[in-house]
């Protein structure tokens, strides 16, 4: 594929994602109108509900304008990275998000690494040893871990590794660097139990499918070395579905972080969202949701670009579409 068609493809996908994001933002903004009770009272926060304060809120949030005008104002502000202020602390939503995003991104990446580093090899073993002992063990474990909720796993990990064994810290995000890593290990493991199972299943299915293909038999017949067969034939050809799984994993991590951060008291986007929901701090809820949505869209775009890199056939089809 030429550079130009790749570029056109990427721009097309970005444009599509932008349109979807606008649609999505409309839904998010509508939360304000859909939430039970008067939006004015919702936006008052801790302020006393006097006629003056209520008028001030109405003016500041343009609540007397028609709904679409309100939305338009909010959207244009959001495009300038102004997501409003927290009704409780008065802090800018965008700076609150920036402050908390670091922990969540680190947690997400660590979870992703653990998931892929364990999920792909286990899935390959299960696929190549289909129906044998190793496959049955791996498949049963995957079944078990996918059905274990991550907060429950988190609590179990805290009891065992932080409480009983006292190997790792149970709460907080630590001081950065190695300490940060120590603090993130348990949450990441808790979060990856379900995602590993997903990757194992995708990989296993893909490997079984690929291992039965003619080109594997032909390659064996002409004496291609087993190691090349494993990596250049089986693994590479299994990658496309595995990349799909990787995209799902990343998206899932963004959402799953909400629960796990609360369990481990991590100051990330997830716990920010949870506390904002509890305290009815609507601008924060809107802002965090929008950021998470944008991240998920971005992950999907990167996933699709990864297909291009892995499979030359998709490169041509995708670009000519």
């Amino acid at each position: 594929m030429t550079l130009r068609s790749t570029l056109r493809y990427v721009l097309g996908r970005l444009g599509g994602a932008a349109i979807l994001l606008v649609v999505y933002s409309f839904g998010i903004y509508s939360l304000l109108a859909l939430a039970p009770g008067d939006p004015v009272r919702l936006l008052l926060g801790n302020l006393p509900a006097t006629p003056e304060t209520m008028d001030a809120i109405r003016v500041r949030y343009n609540l007397d304008d028609p709904f679409f005008v309100q939305y338009w104002n909010w959207l244009t502000d959001a495009l300038h990275l102004d997501l409003g202020q927290s009704v409780l602390t008065g802090q800018d939503v965008s700076s609150a998000i920036l402050e908390r995003a670091g922990v969540t991104v680190q947690l997400g990446l660590l979870t992703f690494l653990i998931t892929m580093a364990l999920g792909i090899p286990l899935g390959m073993v299960a696929g190549l040893r289909r129906g044998r002992f190793a496959d049955r063990v791996v498949s049963q474990l995957a079944m078990f871990s996918v059905s274990a909720p991550s907060f429950a796993v988190g609590i179990l990990l805290i009891i065992v590794f932080a409480g009983q064994l006292n190997w790792l810290p149970s709460i907080g995000a630590g001081e950065g660097g190695a300490d940060r890593l120590r603090h993130l290990i348990l949450p990441a493991v808790a979060l990856s139990t379900a995602t590993i199972a997903l990757v194992v299943r995708y990989t296993r299915t893909a490997v079984i499918e690929v291992a039965g293909q003619d080109y594997i038999i032909a390659a064996r017949a002409r004496g291609v070395k087993p190691s090349r067969l494993l990596f250049n034939y089986v693994l590479r050809n299994s990658l496309v579905p595995v990349i799909t799984a990787a995209g799902v994993v990343l998206s899932f991590v963004m959402v799953g972080a909400v629960v796990v951060e609360a369990t481990f008291a991590l100051p990330g986007l997830g716990s920010l969202l949870v506390s904002a929901v509890q305290q009815k701090d609507l601008p924060i809820v809107q802002g965090v949701t929008l950021v998470i949505a944008a991240a998920v869209f971005l992950i999907n775009l990167v996933t699709d670009l990864a297909y291009l890199a892995v499979d030359p056939r998709i490169a041509v089809d995708g670009a000519s579409r």
Partner: protein
């Protein structure tokens, strides 16, 4: 054949079984065969004969759960019992394999050149080369298989045509310089012209390198033309073996005779194609007796009770038929009548009303510069009761044309009337016209395995079609039983599901489903190309019978000129979307277009001169 040739491969009593649900099933039963250095043998059989399994077991490449017993010595190694470690020295160096489907035989994510490099690297002399030398070596090996464009090594398999891919597959297979090459249906998925080229290539390389070759094929003509000796397998057992020219002239087993007879001749139209009665038996436990007995007209009770095995009958020939001595004369006499069977002239009524009239029809896909023309300026007429054949290779547009006639594709330009309905209007047609169109024209697809709904019984499928017919309501609706009878199936089939049926039976059901709507035109898109020869003959006879009984018109879409000869009154030859030749079936006797001549030349013929010309030119 050389007189003191040494033995390369000796197989005795090869038996392959598979364990499914705690039950052992025997798929290959006591196969004996041998191969000398520099010799080419063919293993011929229909699906289920066990020919592919037999050769795969020689490289220990059977699917999981399959076990092979017996003895198979390949250059002194017992390849059935050798360890995986020893097999790694056998695979590639001693024997290598080319598979049927060029579209799935190469790693889709690896460039062509890499396929060669990765096995060449095993050779010390290649490792000693410099980078440019290595590139030249890959290039040299691609040139050996007729790829002269140096850019091909950098391309991915999906960027090449089927024929090119098969050439690359052959080059990769040869890169290890094996003593034996196993070609498992190497040309089945290719067009006739490409098939001829690939076979010629294989044979010339085999001669130049003095390799041995085992060619697996379902096509007796291909085997006779390409191989020194031919083995015939049926239902997991060896039926007959012998030198190609003798086997093709005087079969010594009723099954071989049946196979030869079912092959439709290219040069004349038979009133009726000879068929082998019945269908392939389902696989059972190890059984004593001849597996062909229940379909054999010469079978006696002994045939099912005595142990049968391939036995020498002199002149380097062997047969597994117990009665070979008794019935030899009868077989010869029958073969004589087959070779000179009752010939029927193509007959058609050119005054019958026109039911399909296409004038300057074009079909393009895409827009602007990327537009691809599938059909260009095609004019075609079908009259009531006429059998028209649409002939061409893949990509000729023949299927697109058929699909346009039933509305699965739309016509881009030109005029097209079907039963007086202007089908170019497509979605703008009134409902009543669409109904008439749909009921008068019916379609039979190529693949009987995917064209029937697996969840519905045959009865449900046929009844559903009948309800469609009732909607139009101007013709008497056929009952499920009537439809089954018309396509030669017993009434019990109504309760079965497609999975319980063989390929031939499914295609009968698909034809029945089309007939249930009482159509006046039946479009058959390669209806027999997925079927075995013996079943193909049955289905062709069925279609001819139906035509005779109901006066239905047929549009027969096919790449197979011998099939055309058996069914068509009028022939249209398509090349790249254009009609290059048209006329009565006599077109096949005296073609005027160079393309038609090329197609005729490419139809496999038993005699070795079919492949001989080009490879001999190569030698001179």
């Amino acid at each position: 054949m050389t007189e003191h040739a040494s033995r390369l491969l000796d197989v005795a009593g090869l038996t392959i079984g598979v364990r499914t649900g705690g039950e052992q099933r025997i798929l290959v039963d006591g196969v004996d065969l041998h191969l000398d250095l520099g010799e080419t043998i063919g293993i011929v059989g229909e699906s289920g004969s066990g020919k592919s399994l037999s050769v795969r077991s020689l490289l220990q490449l059977l699917p999981a759960g399959f076990t092979a017993t017996g003895a198979a010595q390949l250059s002194g190694v017992n390849v059935l019992t050798a360890s995986e470690r020893d097999m790694r020295r056998v695979r590639g160096r001693q024997a290598s394999m080319i598979l049927q489907d060029p579209f799935t035989m190469l790693n889709p994510l690896m460039r062509v050149g890499r396929h060669l490099e990765e096995v060449l690297r095993e050779k010390p002399e290649y490792r000693a080369m410099s980078k440019p030398e290595r590139r030249a070596e890959v290039q040299r090996r691609l040139e050996e298989v007729g790829i002269t464009d140096p850019g091909v090594a950098r391309r991915y398999p999906f960027q090449l045509s089927g024929g090119m891919r098969q050439r690359v597959g052959i080059a990769a297979t040869l890169a290890t310089d094996p003593a034996l090459i196993i070609a498992d249906e190497p040309t089945t998925a290719l067009d006739a012209v490409t098939q001829q080229e690939i076979l010629e290539l294989l044979i010339s390389i085999q001669r130049q390198r003095r390799m041995s070759m085992i060619m697996i094929t379902h096509d007796l003509r291909v085997a006779f033309a390409a191989c020194d000796r031919v083995y015939v397998m049926y239902a997991g057992a060896m039926m007959e073996a012998g030198p190609s020219d003798e086997l093709s002239r005087s079969p010594r087993h009723p099954y071989t005779l049946g196979l030869l007879a079912s092959e439709p001749p290219l040069d004349r139209r038979l009133a009726r194609l000879p068929v082998i009665q019945g269908e392939l038996p389902s696989v059972r436990d190890q059984q004593v007796g001849c597996r062909f007995a229940e379909r054999c007209e010469w079978a006696t009770p002994d045939c099912t009770q005595e142990r049968v095995r391939l036995a020498p009958i002199g002149d380097d020939r062997s047969s597994a038929c117990l009665r070979v001595d008794e019935i030899g004369r009868e077989l010869a006499a029958r073969f004589e009548t087959v070779e000179h069977g009752a010939v029927e002239a193509a007959h058609q009524d050119l005054s019958a009303p026109v039911i399909v009239a296409l004038e300057g029809v074009s079909k393009t896909y895409g827009h602007g510069n990327g537009a691809v023309a599938a059909l260009e300026d095609v004019s075609l007429t079908i009259r009531q009761g006429q059998a028209v054949a649409l002939v061409g290779e893949s990509g000729s547009g023949k299927t697109t044309l058929g699909r346009c006639l039933v509305g699965l594709e739309s016509v881009s330009r030109g005029t097209a009337e079907v039963f007086g309905i202007d089908i170019t209007r497509g979605a703008k047609l009134p409902r009543s016209d669409v109904r008439t169109w749909r009921s008068k024209v019916q379609y039979v697809f190529q693949d009987p395995y995917s064209s029937l709904n697996p969840r519905m019984t045959i009865g449900q499928t046929l009844a559903e079609a009948g309800r469609q017919a009732a909607l139009v309501g101007d013709a008497p609706v056929l009952s499920v039983e009537e439809v089954l009878e018309r396509v030669g199936l017993r009434a019990q089939y109504a309760a079965r599901r497609p999975s319980a049926l063989s390929g031939g039976e499914r295609q009968r059901v698909a034809i029945g489903r089309a007939l249930a709507l009482n159509p006046e035109l039946l479009i058959c898109d390669e209806p027999v190309s997925a079927l075995d020869v013996s079943v193909q003959a049955q289905v062709l006879n069925l279609l001819n019978d139906i035509r005779r009984e109901t006066g239905i018109a047929l549009l027969f879409i096919t790449h197979d000129l011998a099939v055309v000869r058996q069914v068509a009154d009028t022939v249209y030859v398509l090349e790249k979307g254009r009609v290059v030749e048209t006329g009565s079936a006599q077109v096949l006797d005296s073609p005027s277009s160079g393309y038609t001549k090329q197609l005729l030349e490419a139809v496999p013929r038993t005699s070795s001169d079919w492949l001989g010309k080009r490879s001999q030119m190569g030698k001179a």
